[in-house]
């Protein structure tokens, strides 16, 4: 595997709540190589959400440095971070976050709209992304006309449409039944096999087993790192991941 997509060095995050200072992350080093598929797990309060926000450029570390896809993002202003998210990261959220007034196609186009891309090009890319997730025949449906699994696949298409360096998923199966959850994870595995770098944040060990590596976070530190054997990944793909346990 080649140059890392995510490179965190000595990252810490502290929040001030009144007079008390809370350390959500303490001195985290993290490398995610291009083409890797990493699960970040941990109980709630462990700091995994904070880690995800920092990796996703939604939040800034209090200390340490972050190089995303070869570019240092420390000290970038809000709008510069927004552009970084737009170009380098594809988000998939637990609750899909599709805009209900827009069709599937328009939802997928949205990041490209903010990139300032012309109508024809972004439509072509969005159609391609929808085809990649197997929804080419649902392009003009509104989210409400789609099943949960289909909605999440639209969200994946939206994340992919901009050709990001990193696909960042936050509990992507949390709102799905087991069958739809398995489909989405299989989709991630397929994308990863084609070279996409994937980070999945989850509390569910069954979801985590779909990845190549599992990082467990506890008390603001990366407590452990485990490789998932290839056979186990296949097994995980065959078994049903937990969906509605959140």
């Amino acid at each position: 595997m080649t140059a890392p997509v995510v490179e965190l060095r000595g990252v810490a995050k502290t929040y001030r709540m009144g007079s008390v200072t809370v350390s959500a992350l303490r001195d985290v080093d993290l490398d995610v190589a291009a083409g890797d598929m990493v699960a970040i797990t941990g109980p709630s309060g462990s700091g995994k959400s904070t880690l995800m926000n920092i990796v996703g450029c939604l939040d800034r570390p209090s200390q340490g440095s972050y190089v995303l896809a070869g570019r240092c993002v420390d000290g970038l202003a809000d709008d510069a971070l927004a552009e970084t998210r737009n170009r380098s990261i594809g988000f998939v959220f637990q609750s899909f976050h599709l805009l209900s007034r827009l069709s599937a196609l328009e939802n997928v186009e949205l990041p490209l709209v903010y990139r300032g891309m012309g109508v024809r090009r972004r439509r072509a890319l969005a159609c391609q992304a929808l085809a990649d997730v197997g929804l080419e025949d649902r392009m003009h449906h509104l989210p409400a006309q789609l099943s949960g699994g289909q909605q999440q696949r639209v969200a994946v298409a939206r994340a992919l449409a901009g050709r990001p360096s990193l696909l960042l998923a936050d509990e992507p199966t949390g709102n799905l039944d087991s069958r739809a959850g398995r489909d989405v994870l299989a989709l991630f595995q397929g994308l990863n096999d084609e070279g996409m770098t994937v980070v999945v944040v989850t509390h569910d060990p069954l979801v985590a087993r779909h990845c190549r590596r599992i990082l467990s976070v506890a008390d603001g530190l990366i407590a452990g790192c485990a490789e998932v054997a290839a056979g186990e990944r296949l097994l995980a793909a065959a078994a049903a991941p937990g969906g509605d346990r959140a």
Binding site: L58, A82, G116
Partner: protein, 392 residues
Amino acid sequence: MNLWESLRMAVLAIRTSVLRSFLTALGIIIGVATVIIVVALGQGARAAVAQRVESLGTNLVIAFPSPGSGVQFTAGMARSLKGRVPDVTAAMPVFSGRGAAVVWHTQNTQASLQGVSPQWLSMRGAHLAAGSFITSQQLAGRSRVAVVGQTVLTNLGLSPATAVGRQIFVGGTAFTIEGVLQPLGAGVGGQSQDSIVLMPYTTSQDILHTAYPSELYFQVAQAKDAALVVGTLDMIFSHTYPRPNAVNVASQDQLLSTLSSVNRTLTLTLGSVAAVSLLVGGIGIMNIMLVSVVERTREIGLRKAIGARRRDVLRQFLIEAVLLSGGGGMIGVAFGALATHLGGLLLKTPMAVSPVSAAVGLSFALAVGVVFGMWPAAQASRLDPIMALRRD
């Protein structure tokens, strides 16, 4: 995100809840419509007043005792003042009374009575439709002859051709119809002038039970002399009646400018009230936009997460507010124009929407949208995407 995309998003948001958007813009709609109607009414009224003052006759100066002053004119004053004031070419006393019943056969109607002199026709610039006007002989002889207006005639079921020579009863006294007036239109105060019965002022004193004329009319040779004549008459009256302002003397120009300024003040006042209602409409928009920002927190969070910059979000919400206010403004202009047109038909006076008031109303509405949309839009643009996404 370019302007076109922001516009499309705003249209989509507004279209999603048409009723709510309409109610939000209602304040602006009413405000703009009111501005347009008030201005149109004001301008229509000004034009009507001008026309009525013109219809009073040519180069007239009118004197009448101030209400409550106790001053009483006499019929002879008209002639004596004409002799004393240069540039006055004609003068006459006018006796006005309350309305009286006018009866012909079984038909009856109500009309106002005026005692006048033979000069009335030329001084008022009026014309006869049939018959002849009151003569000096009839004036001297206290003849019971009447010249009637068109409305009276119509109400009695007579036509100009058949009316002359007929006998009618005015306030119980028999009169012979001598002539019929052509329509005069509305008077200075907007009242109809065609519901009128004219008679020699010598005769009218018996019918109206008064020996004192209510007004003196003076005709001036040239319009430019009117001010001088007014001044001279003022001086003479202030000598005769030493109390201040016992008599009002006014030329047509002064009458017109007084009435117009009253009119303008009224229009300005009502227009300002309408403008305030536009501000209130703006506050309504701000209120709903603030609610909308809260409701759409998750949407804003998602947009920011996938790459919307502050100015993208700001622009989206600002355009939505301006679209609401501008759309409201346009509906307001249409509604105001319609109401003005219908009002004109109803009041039977031509009323036109002034393009200036439409432009001012519309730009004011747009400005209100920008001003009152700015704060909610800024709120939206400052949302933290993490917090916004977490909101349920």
